[in-house]
Amino acid sequence: MAIIVDQNTKVIVQGITGKQGSFHIRQMLAYGTKVVAGVTPGKGGITFEGVPVYDTVQAVLENHQVDATVIFIQAAIAKDAVMEALEAGIGIVVVITEHIPIHDELEFISYARRKGAILIGPNTFGIISSGKCKIGIPPNQFFIPGPVGLVSRSGTLAYEIAKKLAAAGFGQSTAVGMGGDCVKGLTFVEILKLFEADPETRAVVLIGEIGGDAEEEASVYIKEMTKPVVAYIAGKSAPPEKQMGHAGAIIRGGRGTYQGKVKALSKAGALVAEMPSEVPEKISKLLA
């Protein structure tokens, strides 16, 4: 078991021959992901890394069964690619692209909701069900099967902690990147609910950051969860009102502060780690 994706998930890569796509298709294949096809307009007909390339998503669907797609398309035209996938009826859309205009994001997130599709991201590292399927960009070596569900707003911080967990002997059932932009498809709460229901997941690590109120929202649901949650929040030392890379990480009107998030999470029963290295320590105690 795992959440959202597993060893049977058939994946396509939109933007397969681009700079990002061409690098990560290799990594995904190496991880064992069932990549059935790629899309690059104008490159239809070629084979890339052993994977057939098509001009459009529709062309793929005329030849393959597809469960999920991953978008490596430059920000300015990413909306078109996401809409293409959603319109074609693909049920899981992972949007790696960062710097997408937020008005474009609002539109395709709304359309995904209307189509009943799961949209992960944008500006996410993707999703990885350890040992089964990786859709996105995390380095392969730190994601090994295990009892910990991991969800994060940040990519590298998630890898960091996944590695520390692995070093401590704890693999992950599934790791999901919620995405670093202001608005996103799947949220903490939706992901936590899936982990709560997943028999393979015994504890959840939530990696948040300052800005927005995703962690405060998550706290409301964590209160109801039967599985333990360990949280780490980045940005304790950030000066207020300075944008720290993620558009979401703006402290606005006193909401979204480090202190507020830690308080909400603690009150809900989550264990909050001060430093990344404390995460495996806390997990270790919980699952001992």
Partner: protein, 378 residues
């Protein structure tokens, strides 16, 4: 990115939302001329900050002479950290009623939201919750007049009155600015009735920086230091801080965490630099040079490779090291993730042993900074 009030008002004007008669001036004589033409005026410092009124940046002048003397005082002054280079000299309106109106994005609802109150003119944070109306729209469906009519009705205005009709039009125009100009915030406080007519007396507009490529007609204001600008031109996220340990990390989350950890060990970061995923050797080398130019005591490079490849980072280090004046400050490098072995080997050939654990590496950077003399690199 914020834009100046007068540019926001130009946008409003273009979308049919009336603004007070006004002129933008950059010298005191022009201010006097504008006042002579307009009559009693408000002189408003054009800076990218709120709370201008409380800081003396918004002043009234009844005569051209008064306008001139206020302009002399404001131009070149520093208000809330900003140099005043331009003033908006604007008709002083007879205000009958003030509203608050904004369109922004509700992250939790994942949709645009219109915020309105009939208690305008004061900070919206000071208005009681139950006097603030929040109406969400559907990003796909967009705006309709009926949505504006419901807002006006709930604000207690008569929809059949001139005021009611003007407010409906103002809400539609404000939303149109938000939608068509890729704004993340359009805020008018106050939106005023002066006689039968409505005016946007202020304009706070923030444009989505990611949409800049398709909003080329807006004159953006550079609200950045020289170094920040250099980094942004490379496509990187950079914020200047006050400490002495220069930081490079890949990913906003890990970069923030890196600052947290440095401070945890008693260090002070000199900056936040996120070399975003997938950045190549050349860009990383350039950003390393940017950090060097700020003469920190120590440089801490914290890379956990995903899209960013460790060998690219190592090559960038070697490149800068071998070039010109080289690297004169201690550099602590932590490499982990994609192509880590390659990266490590490249550094070893250069005599550097990369760390694998970021907390250990951070502790080392703090230790080195504590030992280093001030301005060690020169």
């Amino acid at each position: 990115m914020r834009i100046f009030e007068y540019i926001g008002k130009e946008l409003f004007n273009r979308f049919g939302l009336p603004v007070p008669k006004g002129k933008v001036v950059s010298c005191a004589d022009e201010a006097a001329l504008a006042a002579a033409e307009i009559g009693p005026v408000v002189v408003k410092a054009q800076i990218l900050s709120g709370k201008r009124g409380k800081s003396g940046g918004i002043r009234f002048a009844n005569t051209p002479a008064e306008a001139k003397s206020i302009a002399l005082e404001l131009l070149g002054a520093n208000i809330r950290g900003y140099l005043v280079e331009k003033l908006l000299v604007e008709e002083k309106l007879a205000v009958d009623q003030e509203f608050y109106l904004a369109v922004t994005i509700d992250e939790e609802a994942k949709s645009p939201v219109i915020i309105a109150s009939n208690q305008g003119g004061i900070d919206i944070e000071e208005v009681p919750e139950n006097r603030i109306l929040k109406v969400h729209t559907d990003a796909e469906l967009g705006m309709y007049p009926f949505i504006a009519r419901n807002i006006v009705r709930r604000l207690g205005l008569d929809l059949g009155s001139q005021h009611g009709k003007e407010l409906v039009k103002a809400i539609l125009a404000t939303y149109q600015v938000f939608q068509e100009k890729d704004a993340v915030l359009v805020e008018i406080n106050p939106l005023v009735f002066s006689g039968e007519k409505i005016f946007a007396a202020d304009a706070k507009v923030i444009i989505d920086p990611e949409a800049r490529f398709r909003q080329k007609d807006i004159p953006y204001v550079e609200d950045q230091t020289e170094t920040e600008k250099l980094a942004h031109d490379l496509g990187l996220s950079y914020v200047e801080l006050k400490g002495d340990i220069a930081v490079m990390a890949n990913g906003a989350g890990i970069a923030m965490s890196t600052l947290d950890i440095l401070m945890h060990y008693g260090g002070t970061p000199a900056n936040f630099l996120d070399v975003v995923g997938g950045t190549d050797t050349e860009t990383i080398a350039r950003s390393l040079e940017i950090l060097l130019a700020k003469k920190p005591k120590v440089i801490f490079i914290n890379i956990f490779g995903g899209s960013t490849r460790c060998d690219d980072v190592a090559r960038a280090y070697v490149k800068v090291k071998k070039k010109g004046s080289g690297i004169q400050v201690p550099v602590v490098i932590r490499l982990e993730g994609t192509n880590q072995d390659k990266g490590r080997r490249i550094l070893q050939e250069c005599g550097i042993e990369a760390y694998t654990d970021m907390e250990e590496a951070a502790a080392k950077a703090v230790e080195l900074a504590a030992c280093a003399p001030a301005g060690s690199s020169s």
